[in-house]
């Protein structure tokens, strides 16, 4: 196999428990986002747009949809003879088999995959964040600094800092301390879960970590702290721009709403940095004479007869006459009857909302939490749904 300078390892096994019914049959990276995409599209497109053409995708939880979706990687231009995308599920060996125990263990068990390409560097990313980043520039930084590991960081709100891996750096950007989800964060520089390692150093660490029985085999909890203890050269790569972890219903909904801003911080209409996705073969959307669509994203294959305000409609959504959809995210192929009212909701793929149903509470009446409705359900008129988060 031809040598590759940098191989990407994409961690996509996440169960995403906090996304409730959306991930009951789906790994988190396969959850729909932004009217057209699945969450993993953003990282895969980042790889393609950064010129990284060798990506190992580590899957584990409910992999069917994700595996089928990734396929041979053609939508992201990752169908290559040398490199391209490879799906890497856990497997059995002669001495038995096991699930991936932690992020570091998942990479450890795919050392032979990486070694095929004899890389200098390995990029470790996860498939559950929305952002655009040129990994090639981060790699340049890593080389310039002669680092063993470079971790991308972003300044987060202080009150949220304890949700992340928090870093302390010296004035040269060298990482001096790393704390995974600290109760009392010392800084607001959060790890974005994007790492570039020099492969030689990483391999050594992976083996050490595997042998350590105390270790939970996780990058943030074990491997990075050990590298710090051993005084290796770890640097922070500051990132400015939109970055969102869409791991909760609230943040998933917010990130969708962020796209509807007048000047969205995250631009989908960027021809220099296209987000690639599997094409669902749908015709242009039909906006009927009775329709009204404002402050919204609407995908192809939709057929709108009612009113859509400040909402995201995925492909194949039908909206009947007299219906109103406000502040909501409607996943693919949802059928909404006539005279339906939907406020601040996320509605799962293929669900049917019958005529006259009311979901959520209008803002005038106090509004409410985000209403979450699963896939392929049927919402009748009588089952009037209100905020339940």
């Amino acid at each position: 196999m031809r040598k590759k300078e940098c191989v990407a390892m994409l961690l996509a096994g996440g169960e995403g428990r906090r996304l409730g019914v959306l991930t009951s049959k789906l790994a988190k990276p396969a959850v729909h986002f932004g009217g057209k995409y699945r969450i993993i599209d953003f990282t895969l497109s980042n790889c393609t747009n950064s010129g990284i053409d060798t990506v190992g995708v580590l899957t584990q939880y409910q992999p069917l949809v994700l595996n089928t979706y990734i396929g041979i990687g053609a939508p992201w231009d990752l169908d290559r003879k040398h490199g391209g995308v490879t799906v890497l599920p856990p497997y059995m060996e002669q001495g038995g088999g096991d699930w991936y125990k932690g992020t570091a263990n998942a990479i450890y068990r795919n050392i032979s995959f990486i070694e095929q390409y004899d890389p200098e560097y390995v990029l470790v990313i996860s498939g559950d964040h929305i952002y655009k980043m040129d990994y090639d520039r981060m790699l340049d930084y890593h080389k310039q600094r002669g680092a063993d590991a470079t971790i991308a960081v972003i300044g987060v709100k202080w009150e949220e800092a304890s949700r992340f891996g928090i870093m302390a750096t010296d004035e040269e950007g060298r990482i001096t301390e790393f704390a995974e989800k600290p109760k009392e964060p010392k800084s607001n520089l959060a790890s974005m879960g994007i790492y570039i390692f020099s492969w030689k150093a990483l391999k050594e660490q992976l083996i050490k970590d595997e042998e350590d029985e105390e270790s939970s085999k996780d990058f943030g909890k074990d491997l990075i702290p050990r590298m710090l203890r051993e005084n290796l050269n770890l640097v922070a790569y500051p990132f400015e721009g939109y970055w969102k972890d869409v791991g909760t219903i609230q943040s998933l909904w917010e990130a969708n709403m962020d796209l509807l801003e007048k000047e969205p911080a995250f631009k989908l209409n960027d021809r220099e940095w296209r987000i690639y996705s599997v094409n669902p073969l749908q015709p242009g959307q039909y906006i009927a004479g009775t329709a009204q669509v404002r402050r919204s994203l609407v995908n192809e294959g939709c057929c709108v007869f009612g009113e859509v305000d400040h909402s995201v409609l995925f492909y194949g959504v039908q909206v009947g006459e007299g219906s109103l959809i406000k502040d909501s995210v409607i996943m693919p192929n949802v059928t909404i009857g006539s005279n339906v009212k939907i406020y601040k909701a996320i509605i799962g793929e293929g669900t049917v909302v019958e005529d006259g149903a009311v979901i959520g509470t209008p803002e005038e009446e106090g509004g409410g939490d985000i209403v979450l409705i699963g896939s392929n359900e049927r919402v009748g008129k009588t089952a009037t749904t209100t905020g339940k988060g």
Partner: protein, 367 residues
């Protein structure tokens, strides 16, 4: 069955839209090209070996078709073949379709299929060619031609057929003929490969080179030609009037659904990776077909917008067809117009055409 998309002898009569491309690659229906319908119908009917016989102005067609991947026609066995005109004499003039079939006869010899379906590329419909073949076999016909009943005003150029009650076709006449019937040919012919090759040889030997005119119409009393009536919605698109009419018909949700949402027969096209269409605060869209990548800040009524069109604040687009990547600046008014790709209309301009003779702007024009 093997599929032949015959673009030879095809007049490119769509005015500005066919100045630099052939009819097959004219954009249609907010994100397609005309040939997508024919190719998708073939693929959806299980045809895995398709040849496109092209004649001229086929750069954009080749660009669109590529390896045939989008239609699942990038195959090791069979797949998509683009077969351009072979120029033999120094005059550089290419000859009729039979001559082109002859020049590429190896294509036919190599295919294992026994039957051939020969079509054009400008019939917008969703049709199952297996049903046509079944009908062909049932009737034990030499040739089966697909036709439809013409509706009110057709605006397109087409041939007429006289069809007997049992389905036999007795007369085929050109557009200019005087045959009084509303049976309109969809220029889709099923026949055995053997008969086609025989027709190629015998016509060329007599100095004729036109499949329908010389091979079929002249021999209609010697062959058993049957007509298969297609009832689904069908638009014949080969004049600017029929282009406009059939585009606008897509604004009927019944037709939109019939064409694009046949459960097993989706229409395939080249992917563009555009984000969903974006509607801003003051967007106002009514009765329109809108593709991805569009940004709508102004008013759009009874119109078709292709991918990546921008309608700025205060602009008003009515009864118009706006092709890919056009930009309509603030306070522009456009009515009854067709704008080709990449047209830029600067602030405050007013462009109005007539429904019978829409205003047409050619590709990349700045107005």
């Amino acid at each position: 069955m093997m599929g032949v998309v015959n673009l030879v002898n095809e007049p490119d009569d769509l005015e500005e839209l066919t100045y630099s491309r052939n009819l097959a690659s004219v954009p249609f229906g907010s994100r397609y090209r005309l040939i997508d319908f024919t190719l998708s119908n073939m693929v959806n009917s299980g045809i895995e070996n398709v040849a496109v016989f092209t004649q001229h102005k086929y750069r954009s067609l080749m660009d669109h078709l590529g390896s045939g991947k989008e239609w699942d026609l990038d195959r090791k066995r069979g797949g998509l073949f683009i077969l351009p005109a072979v120029l033999h004499d120094t005059s550089g003039v290419s000859r009729g379709d039979l001559y082109q079939f002859y020049s590429h006869r190896d294509y036919f010899y190599r295919g294992r299929e026994e039957y051939v379906i020969i079509t054009r590329s400008h019939m917008v419909c969703n049709i199952d060619y297996n049903a046509v073949l079944d009908y062909h076999l049932e009737r034990n016909a030499d040739i089966t031609v697909v036709y439809k009943k013409a509706d009110e005003q057709e605006y397109a150029k087409y041939r007429r057929l006289a069809v007997k009650e049992d389905g036999q076709v007795t007369v085929i006449e050109d557009h200019s003929g005087r045959l009084r019937t509303d049976n309109v040919s969809l220029e889709m012919y099923v026949m055995s490969k053997e008969l086609l090759l025989d027709m190629v040889e015998s016509c060329l030997a007599q100095g004729y080179d036109h499949l329908v005119r010389d091979g079929i119409m002249k021999n209609i009393d010697k062959l058993s030609v049957y007509g298969y009536q297609h009832d689904g919605h069908t638009g014949i698109v080969n004049t600017i009037q029929s282009y406009y009419k059939h585009s606008m018909q897509l604004l009927n949700p019944k037709i939109w659904r019939e064409l694009f949402f046949q459960p097993k027969n989706l229409i395939y096209t080249k992917v563009k990776d555009e984000p969903p269409a974006r509607y801003t605060e003051h967007a106002h869209a009514r009765n329109s077909l809108i593709a991805n990548g569009c940004i709508i800040e102004g008013k759009v009524e009874n119109s078709i917008l292709f991918r990546g069109v921008k309608i700025r604040k205060g602009a008003y687009v009515k009864n118009s067809i706006i092709l890919q990547n056009c930009e309509i600046e603030e306070n522009v008014i456009i009515e009854n117009a067709i704008l080709d790709k990449d047209v830029f209309i600067s602030r405050g301009r007013v462009l109005t055409g007539d429904k019978q003779a829409p205003f047409i702007a050619s590709k990349t024009k700045v107005i």
